[in-house]
Symmetry: D2
Subunit: 383 residues, 4 copies
């Protein structure tokens, strides 16, 4: 009997999760190829990564729109291919049956305990060797610092106070994941595991984690193009960006408070690549009629030999969820493999996937790709 791995999605009914689930089922049925899945291109030892057939999907969500309904909406929006849904309806319903509402306890401790219980139940029911928890829920606003974020015992005590919300949702999910012995991946810019009390907990639990904020559009291009300017000794003076987002994240990010985290995450990368003296205005606009599409325009002004002034502009138009979903599946496979290989703490080797990578300062895309390739080729090999 094959070794099976769980993928537990926080925000399992959203666009990214629904696309990932639908795509996984389509690949299994031979109805779609693995375009966009990076793990299919990596050279790994046989068996080092769980196969598509060996992944079992579950998840939490606050909303209760059925996956099938969401998939219909994404089909109408041109994101999922017409004709796919009828062919996988049965298997989609099977996944649906495994989803759970986010529990609501009297205290955050109680909520977390029930979430961890859902994870353990999922693992047991399917006989899974590991369950990787991936956060693909809506972006949260940045969270105010609190002493309990730095001290695990104080945190545990605060979680027990009725009515107190010492942790944002993403961090509570990370806490629950770690409590249940599950590796955690943050695909959003939300706080998640990035609090000292939680990263310390991960190490004590001997668990790996990865994040933050999947790199799928403008920042992907920035991490590819900025190193070019540096390598050619061209001096970037300004790098201006505008992002137009339709559904889903667009509505969330129209709220400037919630967008703050995203904008910080994007800005950090550019500063890391080019230094702090680059003028870099950046906007995210909600443009509902774009539907599932997003469009980014960047304008780069730079100086060359003898001060010659030149510019680069680009426009990137894509389906955010189609870019994100295969990476979610990739991250589940790679994090499961890291867990099997006994790795703990932040997985800097997965920086390739993130706008704001934990465990490393490397933002250059090509270098991130090289590190990923090398690390992946070592997986499943005797040390």
């Amino acid at each position: 009997m094959p070794d099976r791995t769980g993928v537990w999605l926080i925000g399992a009914r959203g666009s990214v999760a629904t696309t990932a689930i639908t795509g996984l089922l389509a690949m299994r049925s031979g109805l779609a190829g693995p375009d966009g899945c990076v793990t299919e291109r990596l050279e790994v030892a046989p068996g080092a990564l769980p196969g598509w057939d060996e992944l079992v999907v579950g998840g939490h969500d606050l909303v209760d729109t059925p996956l099938e309904k969401k998939a219909e909406q994404l089909t109408a929006a041109g994101l999922l291919p017409a004709g796919l849904l009828p062919a996988i309806r049965d298997s989609l319903r099977a996944v649906e049956a495994g989803l759970r509402p986010v529990p609501a306890g009297r205290t955050q401790a109680e909520t977390a305990a029930r979430m961890a219980g859902d994870l353990r139940e999922f693992r047991t029911r399917h006989g899974l060797s590991a369950v990787v928890v991936v956060n693909v829920a809506s972006t949260e606003p940045p969270v105010a610092d609190a002493p309990e974020h730095h001290d695990f015992d104080a945190l545990v005590a605060a979680l027990d106070e009725p009515g107190r919300e010492v942790l944002p949702g993403s961090s509570l999910a990370a806490y629950a994941a770690l409590s249940a012995g599950c590796p955690y991946v943050d695909f959003t810019p939300s706080t998640g595991i990035r609090l000292p009390a939680l990263t310390g907990f991960a190490r004590r639990q001997g668990l790996p984690y990865a994040g933050s904020d999947g790199k799928t559009g403008e920042t992907l291009l920035r991490s590819v193009l900025a190193p070019m300017f540096a390598a050619r000794a061209l001096k970037v003076r300004s790098w201006s960006g505008t992002n137009l987002l339709g559904g889903g994240d667009g509505a969330t990010l129209a709220d400037p408070v919630k967008a703050a985290g995203k904008l910080e995450s994007k800005a950090r990368g550019l500063a890391a690549l080019l230094g702090d003296d680059v003028t870099a205005p950046l906007h995210i606009d909600h443009v509902p009629d774009l539907g599932e599409q997003k469009t980014a325009w960047d304008h780069v002004s730079f100086e060359g030999f003898l001060g010659a002034r030149m510019t680069l502009q680009f426009t990137w138009t894509g389906y955010d969820s189609a870019l994100a979903a295969p990476l979610v599946l990739d991250l589940a496979r790679l994090t499961a493999a890291a867990y099997r290989a006994g790795e703990t703490g932040p997985l800097g080797q997965l920086a390739f996937f993130f706008k704001d990578p934990v465990g490393t300062d490397e933002h250059r895309f090509a270098e991130q790709a090289r590190i990923l390739t090398e690390w992946a080729s070592s997986l499943g090999r005797p040390a």
Copy 2:
């Protein structure tokens, strides 16, 4: 007394050469920094590369417009900074004095002998340890194959036939350079040294060479962006490009026959990076009013997860000569260093600089940068 190195430019009165010469003089006078010069960013052993003060410039050209006049035109075109020229006029006149008309012999052998004589005289007069010949002349049309191109002895015999032009100008310049014991760099897509009879001659003379076709705009971006699509498993379906060029090369490339070589050189890179099944229409238009500027627009259509169709467009607007000139100086320094280090044959390590690199099939920019960095750091070190 310092070790001095010669840089001999074929096409020494053109825009690229004039910008390189002006910039070199400006850097020496402290009037300009090395923006755009890659060698200033490489970590090399002290003394491994000739310093800016140790370069002596000479060259051949068919036209006789004085450098000073050309520099005035480039200043009016916004390429050279206003106010620079008066400050370097004297040193520019000194370089002028060292330029030579392209000799015209009764046979190509005689022409080549006189060119080689000019190179030897230049080396002796200035006491140079090496003279690197760099071709920055106008692009030639592709040349028809001939048996003599494959057999050095037959070539030598053919060069002696009065009235026969067995070699195009760029190849005759390469032959002269090799005859005089000089390394050769081809910054253009012209044939240059790329004939079996000449590359064999280079090896027998124990000389290194580099080329072809400096990578300064659209192709630079392609070699940066195409690997991103590959690394992310995104399937490029078409990559369409249009180049608008003003002065200089624009007029030459308006002639479809002459443009053929350039278009081939550009296309080869894309096919090497993405495979042959990508639709890739490509145009070069001469738009005189753009002056020294060039603008490239590329439209990339690609497919992601579940066949989602997405696009990337970019517009690159730059001064071609401002992009090329510092690379010419970089190549002179690096090729001189390779010569000193005893390297011979094609310098694949310099692929970073070229659209159509000799000595390697590596077209991925980041990998080219890594190879260059590593090789440069080994220069001047004991083997």
Copy 3:
């Protein structure tokens, strides 16, 4: 009983025709609004234009792919909305029943006679007060001049010679239309009615005609933007354009011979608007993966006060057939109304719709719109 008008499409199974037919049926069934239909915005006297319910569609085509099959392809390509086809299948089959293959006579005269016969039969069968013939077939190459094109009697004689093809297909269709007493509209850049022998015939028959080459993308924008530069006394120096076309016309226009007519038609407009001294390179590329979409990029370089150099770039991405189809319906209605009103000869008032309008030199979009609006408001009014 209402007055019914026929619309006879040359190329009735192509993308434009299929979209027009499908859309007409959808509007009639209340499944789609008239977005893109200009006649819905014009103020006309009640009854001056035939209503959507009063149009009856027929047509000729060389191919025999059923409309239903073509509509399925256009749905898969994202051009027609998913879900529309089942709702109009029956009425689509009814239209199908009225389409005819292009007849093949022993001489062109015989072919034309049979075409005219089809038109007369269509008019009689449906009791139509008029039949407007609209050419939406593939673009033909420019045609060589012949003496018969200038002399109607000579033309008639030449049409009778077996094996001789004195007229291209589009012109033969125009001849047949005129013979049958039908107004003729050319939506393509093909020769069509634009031969002196045929325009003279139209006048003698007392018939109106309109054309040429529907203005749906790049040229539409040019006819809007060029007058702005003129009105602001900004001096356009170059206007460079690239068109990427997927299916249908893209394949036809990939053939430089066939593209010649299109390129000429496009260039004429720009010269008329801005004069002859504007550098204006223009390309049409066939990029099959774009499917039914087309993308145009234009780069305009202009000069302002004190010679300041500035640029405008635009990228237009659209479904060619979705832009063309409503105009085809508009032209059928307006030309029918002109016919009813007794107008004959070239309908310069319809220049608004065309890249290369007959009967006028007016290329300025806003002025064309004003003329159309004024003319339409006079329709159906007592003179």
Copy 4:
């Protein structure tokens, strides 16, 4: 002796004013043509407009950088042609001599009286038949409503209160202009004359006025393109814009409070053209390295036949002052002509020049051009 007309610039040492003055002097000396000057293209009766030689320039400014120095900066920035300044230095100094600091009275009434005094002195000294006051000073933040803005007598009383600032600078300048019997033009989005108390005053003084906010870039294009979508019955769903500005106005508009007026002015036009249900996010960013250049990117998403989704993007790159300066001269000439012709109140006929025109709701560029042309042709003709 010719009839001479004064042009009094509020903000006479800024980029726009300096470019206008320099250009006027260059045209007079035959060193530059009238590119960008609309009045040179209008058909007007001889003598209806003051000639370039008949304009005398004066002005107020808060700063005291000499015009010559400012012109040097604009030359270095590439806005003014190299070589021009030395040729007009003497006449530039003559203009310099006529500029005045903004006076500072104990009350706003006193300040205004001194400003009006400067205007009267200027008129008398040069024997001018009229002085047109044009505001080209920095954009002010929107101003809070006050009862005195609606009641001239109350306003006059409030102006007399020491320490009270009942009017923003632009409105005080308008009040002073009207007091001195001068027509007033607002080239900025500042409040200026647009207060009921002041427009009433203008009518009582029998003076014409024009404004507001010169239309030179993004809004110009919007007023050209939006009517195209309307005329073609294409339904615009969103129109997103980003403006990158370097010097001058960029710094002012980086302050969100000051930018508010500009953004409102821009948004009003789009709503007037396309209705209120178009999503229209709009940003102005200050990007200092762009110097005197501005770049706007707009992304328009629209729907056509059968709901087909399409897009238009454009990028406009220009020198703001080179676009504005000739319009300032045009407005001075046209407003002087209107004054001579006895026109009073808002000059809606000049909407062609403004983002947010007074005296009309017409925002369609072509229609504005038609109205201007017609009105201009009537100038100087017997009624």
